[in-house]
Symmetry: C2
Subunit: 214 residues, 2 copies
């Protein structure tokens, strides 16, 4: 191959690292712009300005505006899945992990409202995520399902909790609290939100509805 030697050289690695770093900066700037102008109103000229480039130079990093959205989607899904996984594993599995995961999800949604719109709603007209970008969300689903099974096995929840209905209700609670917060107290962080504390009684309500002895 032509570039076999170049791939092995340290300068090539440095260049590639720099390239990837600039890509990240572009994505960060894109999120900023979307925060200010709206998810659907991503403006590449403004993004370029913020990273200190001219607009055509962005095409060295992304093939199109849609590619920027897709990279944001992919990175966002990975971040969300990681947050969920970390919270669940720190809580030690089972019902405690489910609680922690749902709280982490609300926190993520509220602290990243723009990204959440991109990830969880159809806010951007032409955009459909690629299969690769969508994949991390499958891991998150599996993780949730596995913790539900654990909670049932540990006799922390009724077996009915580990059904499509039970899973749906759990997710609906997190989605509901997030959207309530976003609609009625936008801009507030998770820890300052007027509605985010509702996730606690919501999970309590869920746990008592699916109590093991029912």
């Amino acid at each position: 191959m032509d570039n076999a030697g170049r791939q092995a050289s340290p300068s090539f690695d440095r260049r590639r690292r720099r390239h990837l770093q600039t890509r990240e900066e572009i994505l960060d700037a894109a999120l900023e712009v979307m925060s200010e102008e709206g998810v659907a109103a991503l403006n590449l000229t403004e993004v370029a300005r913020r990273v200190g480039l001219r607009q055509p130079s962005l095409y060295q990093y992304f093939d199109s505006k849609t590619a920027v959205y897709d990279a944001l989607f992919s990175r966002g899904m990975r971040q969300h899945t990681a947050a969920l996984r970390d919270a669940a594993s720190a809580a030690g599995g089972g019902l405690a992990a489910l609680r922690a995961a749902m709280i982490a999800t609300v926190r993520f949604s509220v602290d990243n409202p723009v990204l959440s719109q991109l990830l969880f709603t159809r806010a951007v007209p032409g955009f459909t995520p690629s299969a690769e970008a969508y994949r991390p969300s499958l891991e998150a689903q599996e993780l949730l399902q596995s913790e539900l099974a654990t909670a049932v096995q540990r006799n922390e929840l009724h077996p009915e909790a580990d059904s499509e209905r039970g899973r749906g209700l759990l997710i609906a609670l997190a989605a509901g609290v997030s959207s309530l917060q976003d609609a009625n107290d936008p801009g507030a962080a998770f820890d300052d939100g007027r509605f985010t504390p509702l996730i606690e009684p919501a999970l309590e309500m869920y746990a008592s509805y699916f109590a093991p002895d029912r």
Copy 2:
């Protein structure tokens, strides 16, 4: 006044009715376009084409694109409030009315996803509804609160249900089910939705959590 005589004449009334009717047709077409292209991607040229007019003629009916959004918002809020009010009064007040109102809200959201995005989220960048357009939603809030009070008085719900926390949880349930449906099974009507049936156990969960004897 100059037009005192004209206002009294039947032809003036006819003309005014026709004008208002065309306004409605424009709003309907706008919703159609938004359904296909995205809430934020309202395109006045396309709207004009669908109602059989040229784009500049729309300015006889609305001063600007924002005015179209505002009229949609106003009409949508009135429709939602009416649906909620009708459902509640048909159910006879109290807990039954609350259930009916929440189901009506989910139905409205799922059957009008685009309109719901405009009403309940910040999907359209530059747009903020006028105070007048926003008013009907206050009536809906009062109605909900009054039925909560009734349900407590009738000993159908624990007094704690009629608190900010209780109200928040109730609304979060409806919002959660709606957003779950929209995100995971978009396009389906309320009666065919894979997730809309969750509103029933959700309300059951709510009622048992706020059972009067707890």
